[in-house]
């Protein structure tokens, strides 16, 4: 199926405004919303994964070594990861 151009014409709009592309919201980069961003100190990180679990944006992922990073394309800078990281491995800096 060819990519549809936005904004769609009435002939092109999906019937009933159904959306057939799951997780297509990833095309909308919410990273532009934030005022601060998380910075990881991997010397303190114990690789527990709590930050990954508590991120409402599902933007924190594990890398090959088992450390974690926030995807700054989507991170809204809420600070939950910073607050929940009990080894204090995350710092929020102005962005």
């Amino acid at each position: 199926m060819t990519e549809k151009k936005w904004p769609e014409t009435w002939q092109n709009v999906n019937p009933g405004l159904m959306i057939f592309k799951p997780a297509s919201s990833r095309s909308y980069l919410t990273g532009g919303w934030r005022a601060q961003k998380p910075v990881y100190d991997n010397t303190k990180c114990i690789k527990c994964g709590v930050c990954y679990l508590f991120c409402p944006e599902a933007c924190i992922t594990e890398d090959a070594e088992g450390f974690f990073t926030a995807d700054l394309n989507y991170c809204k800078g809420c600070g939950i990861c910073y607050h929940e990281c009990w080894p204090r491995a995350i710092k929020m800096v102005e962005d």
């Binding site: 959306i19 592309k21 409402p56």
Partner: protein, 322 residues
Amino acid sequence: MKGIIENFDLFAPKLVDKEEYYSSGHRACQGCGEALAIRLMAKALGKDTVVTNATGCMEVTATPYPTTAWKLPWVHVAFPNSASVGAGVESALKVLRRKGKIADRDVKVVSIGGDGGSFDIGFQAISGAMERGHNMIYIVYDNEAYMNTGIQRSGGTPFGASTTTRPAGKESVGNTTWKKNMAEIMVAHRVPYVATACHSYPFDFMNKVKKARKVNGPAFIHCLAVCPTGWRCPSDVCIKMGRLAVETGVFPLYEVEDGKYKMTIEMPKKLRPIEDYLKPQGRFRHLKPAEIEIFKGMAMLEYNKVLERIKHSKSWSEMMKS
């Protein structure tokens, strides 16, 4: 140091299903507890699930055409009818499977809604669907007000909370009544599995979702969802606020299986002072000490009711014998 940390293996987050069924790019506020709760719920449910969603924060932020944050099949119809749409989907999947028109495997129907679409406008639909015994889960994400339309009072708003339709003022303390006890109401509907949960206790919540999924009949989960925007607290303390709600006894986490009550998060003999929960929230900022006492009284009534039931409740199967 933080208060009660739930009993989980420190490395358990790494064992959780890595698949994101509720993806980034949704337009919820930063630090949204409800979005997190839905993300966790979806992980616990897995791919053989169908979600019906009431109008509310989660619906408008997740599916503005042409993009959707959902990786699960999802349908939204209107505000008060998540449960009745769910009942329709459940019946359709049942009969289509029986007639061999769709794959012969279990697909669970999960209807979700906010406290607005569940306690108030959606109450009738839930009551009907749960009473008729449809094989579905209803999960209410309770952020204690109609947040999507701008923080108006709901049946889930606790005493003393300032909302835009019952604001605190010179002549008003804010909301004057306590929350509807939806879990108790659902137990009265003889729902086989009823539980309260909170995203701040993710494994407890996900286990309850998994348990609810196994029930061959209706199941109901009341999940407290912290809304930093509406509760007027900083976004980074979202998880902490949920913990405080549980540790102070304001929102105990328990489950009712076949009528038998059980606390799922161990509570200490001496609860944390309620002021710890109220102080960080702007919506309670106006409360005077006498009013805090009233809040405490109402919260303790519900908490003690739960303790009583845990002590005395018998399972329904046992009680059916003469």
